[in-house]
Amino acid sequence: MGQLVRRAQKGDEAAQRTLVVNYQRRIAGFIYAITGRGDAVEDLAQQVFIKMIRALGRLQEVSQFEAWLFRLARNTCIDHLRRQKLRRIFTPFAAEHENIPEPPGAVGSEELDALRHALQQLPAKDRALLALAQEGRSQVEMAEATGTTVMAVKARLHRAREKLRQFYQGPHET
């Protein structure tokens, strides 16, 4: 992986392409978990990878690539949600248009619908934290990504997990 990232840093397009292909599924899942919108996934994933390619040269520690990439994705999603919120102030019908829910069953299994519903009840920053944890990021990495302390991350993650469990009602529980 280290070699691949170094080659990509030097502008090797094949290496950059391999990185995109290797991570596109995970980044798409991460974005979907945070935004909850299927129509935003491809656009945001593209933004994340473009930023990755353009900023890769500035990455000092190659071993931190994965944590860095997910931090980039998290920040892109939070910015997107913030912009959307701001746009709603100026565009009266934007909220109605943006919040047309994907009909149940259209997105997949009942389990998936239940998880999406539960995630949407949480604040965006909690969703991002849960998605980072789901991606196997350590609490230290999560603290770096969110700009807080490890203790704060621990507490917030615990609360977010509790809330998710509260809201999550899988098909077996209904």
């Binding site: 392409r17 798409a28 899942g29 978990a33 593209q46 998936l112 789901q134 899988g170």
Partner: protein, 89 residues
């Protein structure tokens, strides 16, 4: 395994299916496109500001010139009338 673990897997699977074929190629193509530099954006802003300033100066000068011409004409008229009055015994 937590009850929502399967759902997380389904979520990742669903999200991955939302990426159209050729995603990586589109990303690379878009990343290669030229990004406007700070200098070019600054130059564009400066040029726009200069054009606006020139237009404001032009309009202001024209208004001042018109006003001066009107005033001069009025004064000339006034001076001519005063001269006429002065000619009477």
């Amino acid at each position: 395994m937590k009850p929502e673990s399967h759902a997380w897997l389904a979520l990742n699977h669903r999200a991955a299916s939302l990426l159209r074929a050729g995603f990586a190629d589109r990303v690379l193509r878009a990343a290669r496109e030229a990004v406007p530099t700070f200098a070019s954006q600054f130059a564009l802003s400066a040029a726009t500001a200069a054009v606006c300033l020139a237009v404001v100066c032009f309009v202001h000068n024209r208004r001042v010139a018109n006003e001066t011409a009107r005033n001069l004409a009025a004064w000339q008229e006034f001076a001519a009338e005063a001269q006429q009055f002065g000619q009477f015994p």
